[in-house]
């Protein structure tokens, strides 16, 4: 996915972006539009609305790039926060009432996962499936916290698991991710 950033360190990329010329925009867009669109699409399912939000997000990034402070975190994390907040703002706003209902429906898939989790404790399901199931639980949790901006408390409620479990799972999930992404 990371197309041309291979040749740039993050510092160089940021310096380029701050120069605000057309080339640096192209670089920014080619490298990050898909990842950011992915994040937005996790929260807002309607394609055209997600596209509108993506536009707003890039305008915001472009306007605020001077304020990006590398000591506070990586560039992508900063952009992701902008994308996530824009998406959440939209989904909370009045005009998204209908869309919200769809979102509720969408989230009912977590409910299904939770039920299958109760079953997976039995001997009928093999180790392989259990591992897959665990990975799925992890993925759902990271999606809620990272892409959708849930607090750990909200995630515990959503997934109907204790807050303590959420906390221990977050670390385990990221460790697991690190292994698989290596």
């Amino acid at each position: 996915m990371q197309k041309s950033t291979k040749n740039y360190t993050e510092e160089e990329l940021v310096a380029l972006l701050k120069s605000k010329n057309a080339n640096s925009y192209s670089l920014l867009y080619d490298n990050y539009s898909a990842a950011l669109f992915g994040v937005i699409s996790k929260v807002v399912s309607a394609e055209e609305i997600a596209e509108d939000i993506l536009q707003d997000v890039f305008v915001k990034i472009w306007k605020n790039i001077e304020h990006y402070d590398a000591s506070k975190g990586r560039l992508f994390t900063w952009m992701l926060n902008i994308a996530r907040n824009a998406s959440i703002d939209y989904s909370r706003s009045k005009q998204s009432k209908m869309d919200g209902k769809l979102r509720d429906l969408e989230h009912s898939k977590y409910e299904v996962n939770k039920q299958s989790s109760a079953q997976s404790n039995t001997d009928f399901i093999g180790v392989k499936e259990q591992v897959a199931k665990l990975k799925e639980d992890y993925r759902v949790l990271i999606d809620l916290l990272y892409f959708e901006g849930y607090t750990q408390e909200d995630a515990a409620k959503e997934l109907n698991i204790p807050l303590g479990t959420v906390k221990t799972r977050v670390r385990a999930a990221i460790v697991k991710l690190r292994e698989t992404l290596k």
Binding site: M1, A22, F58, F76, T77, V170, L177
Partner: protein, 264 residues
Amino acid sequence: MNTSDYISSGILESYILDQLTEQERADVKLMAMTHPEIQAELIAIEKTLEQYAIDNAKEPASYLKDKIAAQLQFNEPVESTAALRKKVIPMFWLVAASIALLLSIGYNFFLYDELTNVENELVTSDVDKQYFAGQFEIQKNAYDDAKKHLAIIAQNGNKTVILKGLENAPNAIASIYWNQSSKEVYLNVSEIPMPPADKQYQLWAIVNGKPVDAGIFDLTDNINTMVLQKMKPIADAQAFAITLEKKGGTKVPTLNAMYLLGNV
């Protein structure tokens, strides 16, 4: 907590996922600043999530790139020098290079000057740092003393004897903290006249009607500060008294120079 426990506690993940309170965030920042391995772990977590986001990427419609570009303000790219190059003659370059060299030398002097300034500032800030470290040390010592003193006063089996001023100094007041099992005697003077340079106050224990020397003591400039002075150990006493004596103290108290007295 050692660093590997800290890392495995999960707090760093919560930090990156923005799940912490202000206080917790500040703690993590401090830990990251002071422990390179924690800083490295934070970056690794961030990169992992970044990679995860990239794996979940969704390609937006291709027309969006230009549509967005139309809404942005671009700075002019740096002007190409290729057009200029054709017109100029070699002599121009010679002169230009010489001027550039001169400018560069001048600029170097300027930079050197700047460097010296920065170095000076660094020295100043280092001096400041040392000053604050010194101040901190002083405060810490004062705090440690106060803590020690408090522990002495609060000791089990302590007897507190209040000494009150006599005719010589009606406003004077002092306290004795006397531990009858360890025999230790501590003195705290709250109010007493400053003695003349050639004189010193001396504490006495009155044992069966006879004065027993319990040591001489000096006053600090500010006797209002909580100062506990350890005196000579006393096994038995019915009263304590303070007299003003010649420097170094005496064997027998000067009775008309008695300043404070307190019964046990």
